[in-house]
């Protein structure tokens, strides 16, 4: 079947080169041109033909919008008349201006691109792989997690390799697991605005929470004023009965004030010290880490930091959502030798979804087994991989191995960014070598041999991804008994040799 397909392909390409463009254009005209947002790899939602970009879960954003609209609506309908008459008509005007500013900045934050980094083109990814292989020496033994060190203004910063996006993340960028994108200057993923907050929309986010705090305080103050003034005339209880909406507004504003004002204060601090929420939570630049730890991005004084964050130049969107996809982009032929990520897997990548999770879980579990063990682990204690360790596994990892396979001995994973990019064929060999009981090895071996050709283009985002402050959706614990570290090393070489044998199956 493969042969037949290849001859067919050959014929097709011969025809197309001989008659060049005239043959191709009718074909091209039939298929409508797609815009790039339609094939965007991340988990985002696009509206208005790619002009609007949001996260996948937008329920809380609608709640935010409803809360703001309802509270302001009630304020303008019930309280403003009284206040305009009794005090001054400027109050509704200021209220209206604040309200419009809040809505404007909210929509701007929610609908804009936070600074998503497009994923690497296949050629780029291949080039990086080649460089990494050269740097580490191509042994069969997988190297430790991929990081690059850079000195920025005197501070050493580690750049981590993103397995999903196949790039070395720029400094301050982080991968959002909810949106499945790398975002530049990643602050946090905000469910209230239904989007990530990053380099391009941080100022809008800050303006939003600042203006919202003013609006909340404004409404709270004036509704209280309204009730007090009214109760002076007709008594407190009748004043409350007279405008029940005011009670609702007071309640909403009271609870909002604490959280919103607190958040504004926190972000004001972050802006003045030029840090992101991510960095602050991790304490990346805290002096507690080491004496000469300082923030290399800070401009030195609060004023410049604020101006840079809020009034600096607005970088353009890198993902070109509304551009048209050009199908004839030149590409180098995929490299076939020496790179385990590529090879004969191109056609098999169509195997997807339901098997994918299972396969990837299995792969990850077995990949973890080949990584070097940390010395501090005790001999026969079972190691439980939990989110606290930073190593996250899809919950089905244990299921993928099958019930009887829970006693599969595995090595301890290395810390968070451990490389899950081991190809399947390397991992499959572990089973016979580790003295695994025979009846267990067969089902798994069969499973893996079947999956041998499947090396998905993308490693699943949970393994190897550093959390961006938001927990992943999968359950992460896996239990099993693990090998004595001492005996592991001696088996490594055997396993590598065995892997090579098995891969030829």
């Amino acid at each position: 079947m493969h042969l037949g397909e290849s001859t067919r392909e050959c014929e097709y390409s011969q025809i197309s080169t001989r008659s060049s463009t005239p043959m191709e254009t009718p074909y091209k005209k039939k298929t409508p041109k797609k815009r790039k947002w339609e094939t965007f790899p991340g988990r985002n939602r696009f509206y208005c033909d790619g002009r609007i970009m949001m996260a996948k879960q937008t329920g809380v954003f609608y709640l935010t919008l409803v809360l703001i609209l309802v509270t302001c609506g009630l304020f303008f309908t019930f309280d403003c008349w009284f206040l305009a008459e009794q005090l001054t008509p400027i109050i509704p005007v200021i209220g209206a201006v604040l309200f419009l500013f809040v809505i404007g900045t909210l929509l701007r934050t929610s609908f804009s691109d936070p600074g998503v980094l497009p994923r690497a083109t296949p050629d780029e990814a291949a080039d990086l792989e080649r460089q990494i292989d050269v740097a580490n020496g191509s042994t069969g033994y997988r190297p430790p997690p991929r990081t690059k060190e850079v000195v920025i203004n005197g501070q050493t910063v580690k750049l981590k390799y993103c397995f999903t996006c196949k790039i070395f993340r720029p400094p301050r960028a982080s991968h959002c697991s909810l949106c499945d994108n790398c975002v530049e200057r990643f602050d946090h993923h905000c469910p209230w605005v239904g989007n990530c907050v990053g380099k391009r929309n941080y100022r809008f986010f800050y303006m939003f929470i600042l203006s919202l705090s003013f609006l909340t305080v404004f409404i709270f103050a004036f509704v209280i004023t309204h009730i007090i003034l009214n109760s002076q005339r007709i008594g407190f209880l009748s004043a409350l009965k007279d405008s029940p909406a005011s009670v609702l507004e007071v309640v909403v504003c009271f609870f909002s004030v604490w959280s919103i004002v607190g958040l504004s204060g926190f972000h004001t601090y972050l802006i003045s010290s030029n840090q992101t929420t991510n960095e602050d939570i991790k304490g990346s630049w805290s002096s507690k880490r080491s004496k000469d730890n300082y923030n290399p991005y800070s401009y030195g004084n609060i004023f410049t930091n604020c101006c840079a964050a809020l009034c600096g130049p607005l970088p353009p969107s890198l993902i070109d959502r509304r551009g048209f996809i050009q199908s004839d982009a030149p590409q180098l032929a995929p490299p076939t030798n020496g790179l385990p990520m590529y090879g004969s897997t191109q056609s098999q990548q169509s195997h997807k979804c339901d098997q994918d999770q299972c396969i990837q879980s299995t792969k990850f579990v077995l990949q973890v087994a080949t990584t070097p063990l940390l010395q501090q682990q005790q001999s026969s204690e079972p190691v439980i991989l939990s989110p606290e360790n930073g190593a996250s596994l899809p919950g089905r990892a244990s299921l993928a191995l099958g019930g009887p396979c829970t006693s599969l001995p595995l090595g301890q994973p290395t810390p968070p960014a451990s490389t899950p990019s081991l190809s399947c064929h390397e991992a499959t060999d572990l089973l016979p070598i580790h003295g695994h009981p025979h009846n267990h090895s067969h089902p798994l071996q069969e499973q893996l041999a079947h999956h041998h050709f499947l090396t998905p283009e993308e490693v699943p985002s949970p393994p190897g991804m550093l959390h961006c402050g938001s927990p992943l959706g999968h359950s992460h614990t896996m239990q099993g008994s693990f090998y004595n570290p001492a005996s592991q090393d001696s088996l490594h070489e055997d396993s590598v040799r065995g892997l090579v044998k098995l891969s030829s199956v």
Binding site: V150, P171, F204, P313, A329, P330
Partner: protein, 158 residues
Amino acid sequence: MATEFHNLQELRRSASLANKVFIQRDYSEGTACRFQTKFPSELESRIERTLFEDTVKTLNTFYAEAEKIGGQSYLEGCLACATAYLIFLCMETRYEKVLKKIAKYIQEQNEKIYAPRGLLITDPIERGMRVIEVSIYEDRGSSGSSSGSSSVSGSTAR
């Protein structure tokens, strides 16, 4: 060693893509956009070191100009904030203006310097500002596929 290509059109028609070299970002001065000026070994036989380094240095100065934080950018930022960012519907940001200059510069460089040597530079904006992609072409006569067209047309389209 490679035949001289007279212009970009010929390059597109008669050459085939042999290799791609990626110039990575230089983060030693922070997160501002800057590319490494280190001369890649694959280009040693194709182009003079000084020409290439000049191109990269000029691109770096363009990007520095775009991202400069000074009087003009503050003015733009404050004005935008005051108009609730609606002003961006009417006018281009300074960054976008500089990006257009960069696209023009790259097109010019490709026509004058790189295409005659069988090379093509892709605008970094097409690669998410991560790399400068330099495509190396080999002259294969008439059997070559239509390679460099999209990257060139992509950069000119901007």
